[in-house]
């Protein structure tokens, strides 16, 4: 099996900039593939990914589910005799893959580099500032602080002006992120399927796909089954689990809030004010907010420690997500606290920043490290698909 190696220098340069600068040190001893707690017995990783990366075989790497299945436990890096840090290299390859599959590609590239940070923060900050200014809500509130009047007072078709403006910004942003993620993931799936080198006579139907591959993967993710197998970086599960649950909690609360205020609120009076603190959903929201800050805080400390111990390299890719989530949590909590204490200037400022960080989280999701939540989920589904009868029984 001869392979004609046509290295893509830009790819290697990207990997180096994304924390994979140690990849050339690898001398293929294959210790990593054995110490990896997540690797399979059949074609284990990450040794093969290391040499593909050295050779610049990016087409193989972006179509390799193993790259996404890696949870960066760090065992490979700890045992690597050369300091080649396979865990970091695979992280860098994932960063590359999100950019590679990112749609639209220009935005994906923009999000991949720290030097673009002024635009990445400035654009959403400016957008919301302009909308805020134009909405006429940019003045200190009279009486109780109500973020329901952030973008001004007034009703339109039974909805408050504020709800309409919020929806006008965030619903499209969310829909855009979902669509972009869908484009990226389906592209990845097709590439991975092409690499399988078998003809699929039967394709799973959508319900089959969901029940046989997607749901089991999501269950596995929720249980943090693979994270718990990690050796060196086992503590990370203590941060990731509360963070994941916090996101689910906040998603539920946001959905509830939307239904309550934006839909039911069209017909029932008095639902537009702040939800009382005693409301079960408000309690869930506050618990989730604290879990989010604690969770990302643990990941933050964990990451810092790994870097101090030289088990990982600091990268924009990792820190952008950690700081972004921390910013979402802190601005949200501060907005709520200053509202309750009654400091309108700060409350409004924090609320503004909170909106900016959430918009960033949504729009950059498909390209930043946050994308792992869709790419890894579907890679896990692909792993199950690959082992399923749909692929295995097509030979005869």
């Amino acid at each position: 099996m001869a392979i004609r190696v046509e290295p893509d220098l830009n790819f290697i340069k990207f990997l180096k900039s994304a924390g994979g600068d140690t990849l050339k040190k690898c001398y293929q001893c294959a210790t990593c593939s054995v110490v990896c707690p997540l690797s399979s017995d059949n074609k284990p990783f990450p040794r093969k990914e290391m040499i593909w990366a050295q050779w610049g075989l990016k087409d193989r790497l972006v179509a390799d589910p193993d790259v996404m299945l890696c949870h960066q436990c760090g065992d490979c890096t700890a045992y690597c005799p050369r300091g080649a840090k396979p865990g970091d290299v695979l992280g860098a390859i994932r960063a590359y893959a999100y950019t590679h599959y990112g749609f639209p590609n220009g935005l994906a590239k923009l999000v991949s580099q720290g030097k673009n940070l002024p635009i990445l923060i400035g654009a959403p900050a400016l957008l919301i500032l302009i909308v805020w200014f134009l909405s006429g809500g940019m003045h200190l509130p009279q009486g109780d602080i109500d973020f329901g009047n952030f973008f001004g007072h007034g009703y339109f078709m039974g909805l408050t002006k504020n709800v309409l403006i919020i929806d006008a910004i965030f619903v499209p942003a969310f829909a855009f992120a979902v669509f972009a993620a869908y484009k990226g993931v389906s592209n990845m799936w097709n590439n991975m399927a092409a690499q399988l080198d078998v003809k699929s006579d039967f394709r799973p139907s959508v319900p089959q796909f969901i029940t046989q591959f997607l749901v089991p993967s999501v269950k596995e993710i929720l249980a943090h089954k693979r994270f718990k197998e990690c050796g060196t970086n086992h503590d990370r599960v203590n941060g990731h689990l509360p963070l994941l649950l916090a996101f689910i909690g906040l998603f539920a609360v946001t959905t509830y809030g939307m239904i309550r205020k934006d839909i039911v609120g069209m017909f029932v009076e008095g639902l537009h004010g702040p939800i009382p603190l005693s409301d079960p959903f408000k309690i869930l929201a506050n618990v989730s907010a604290i879990a989010l800050i604690v969770g990302v805080g643990i990941l933050w400390m964990n990451r810092s420690r790994m870097e101090e111990e030289n088990n990982a390299s600091p990268t924009f890719y990792d820190w952008f997500l950690i700081t972004k989530i921390m910013a979402v949590g802190v601005t949200g909590l501060c907005a709520e606290l200053t509202r309750l204490i009654g400091i309108p200037v700060l409350a409004y400022l924090f609320y503004y920043l909170h909106l900016v960080t959430i918009l960033m989280l949504f729009v950059y999701m498909p390209y930043s490290k946050f994308a792992h939540m869709v790419y890894r989920t579907f890679a896990m589904a692909f792993e199950k698909y690959r082992a399923s009868e749909f692929v295995q029984k097509t030979e005869e």
Binding site: Y27, Q28, C29, A30, T31, C32, S33, V34, V35, S39, S40, D41, N42, K43, P44, R47, K48, Y79, P81, R82, G83
Partner: protein
């Protein structure tokens, strides 16, 4: 305090009495230099004495050592101090003051190595020469070919009754339990460091779990097992249960080429494995042997040796470093690696696993205290008056060691010439 036979001007101190130290001492002495040869063990010969055979000619170590011992015996310019270590070095090129300490042997020069003391001794100690694979009496001859041919007594391991019995058994009045450690100073013009190496401590290779099974041994233990004067009389048997192994595996680079352990290549381990395969083959013609390696490094003339061994159909070579060893209930072990050529994870269940442990320079811990400059790995660099040779200088085979020892002798001669 100065030695009673105080050093003549321009003398050379050789630290370490293995093949390198012996060579350097003799090369200097045979051109007329006065040489002090000190050795921390009770015998000369070092690691080579522990081998079963040298590669590539597969001759026994007596082959090279006997003639060197003969040369030492016949050369009055070489003064040997065994059980002696360097405590401190002061002065400079041409004029060093070296303080040494000799530990008591508790046996004097009257000893004829008759063995009566060992017969009388009732206490046992781990046999360090055999890496603890068997016991010896606390009054012992270090090994069959020991030079000087004298017994040693591990006094602390002996009970009072045993001590009395040992003393009574000796017809030659050679046992002296009152011997004390002795410190003395030598004035020398040059120093040759031939302090050699120790097999890397495999317990530090956590993932290989050496202590989990008696079926995991080091390559130096393999030398002792195969050696006619070893713990099994030369029969390769599994420690613990003395089973005749039907299958073997070699784990190359066990500690070497690994920045978490020894970052350099230890040079000899590939050839040592090739050589040890010939030991196995001569005893077990049908044994299955698997060698796990990263790269096989058998440079120059050793390539032929490798080719011969690799032609054996029952020896399998797997490119991939062993990263996990699992102890099995039947006393064997399973080794796990990824075959980097096929990309599959492979495991080999074998009766005996041999770790090709690397060389750790003995000077590593002590060099700083003695004021010696070393490279980052503990190999001694040397300067105008001091030089290093053999495995104190770099990981090397015997041929390279004797070459660098001759070079060191030359440097020592030059340094002492300059000083006179």
């Amino acid at each position: 305090m100065t030695d009673e036979r105080s050093a003549p001007a321009g003398a050379v101190l050789v630290v370490g009495g293995g093949i390198s130290g012996l060579t350097a001492a003799l090369e200097a002495a045979e051109v007329g230099k006065d040489v002090f040869l000190i050795e921390k063990n009770p015998y000369l010969g070092g690691r080579v004495a522990q081998l079963n055979q040298y590669f590539p000619k597969l001759c026994p170590p007596s082959c090279g050592l006997e003639i060197n011992f003969q040369r030492i015996r016949n050369n009055r310019r070489v003064r040997v101090h065994t059980m002696t270590e360097v405590k401190s070095v002061s002065g400079g090129p041409g004029n060093y003051q070296v303080t040494l300490e000799s530990k008591p042997r508790f046996v004097n020069n009257n000893c004829t190595a008759c063995g009566a003391c060992a017969d009388a001794c009732t206490d046992e100690i781990d046999n360090a020469f055999n890496f603890g694979m068997n016991k010896s009496k606390a009054a012992y001859k270090p090994h069959d070919m020991a030079f000087p041919m004298k017994y040693v007594i591990a006094k602390d391991a002996c009970g009072d009754a045993s001590k009395q019995a040992i003393k009574d058994a000796c017809k030659y009045d050679a046992v002296d339990f009152d011997m004390q450690a002795k410190e003395f100073t030598l004035d020398v013009s040059a120093i040759v460091w031939a302090t050699g190496w120790t097999p890397y401590d495999a317990t530090k290779l956590e993932n290989l779990k050496v202590n989990s099974s008696a079926a995991i041994i080091s390559n130096m233990q393999m030398e002792r097992l195969a050696s006619p004067n070893g713990p099994t009389g030369g029969k390769i048997l599994r420690p613990g249960d003395n089973k005749e192994p039907e299958s073997f595996a070699f784990v190359q680079c066990a500690g070497s080429r690994d920045e978490n352990h020894l970052e350099y290549c230890s040079y000899i381990c590939c050839m040592a494995t090739m050589k040890q395969i010939t030991y196995i083959r001569s005893q077990y013609p049908d044994a299955k042997i698997t060698v796990f390696y990263i790269d096989l490094r058998t440079p120059g003339k050793y390539e032929k040796f490798r080719e011969k061994v690799m032609a054996d159909a029952n020896v399998t070579f797997v490119k991939g470093k062993v990263a996990d060893i699992i102890a099995e209930a039947d006393g064997g072990v399973t080794l796990v690696a990824e075959n980097a050529v096929t990309g599959d994870k492979v495991s080999a269940k074998v009766d005996l696993a041999v770790l090709a442990t690397g060389m750790e320079p003995n000077a590593k811990g002590q060099a700083a205290a003695l004021g010696l400059a070393t490279d980052g790995n503990g190999f001694i660099l040397g300067d105008e008056g001091m030089s290093s040779c053999g495995c104190a200088k770099k990981a090397a085979d015997v041929v390279t060691c004797t070459q660098s020892s001759t070079a060191s002798a030359m440097k020592a001669i030059q340094a002492s010439r300059r000083s006179v």
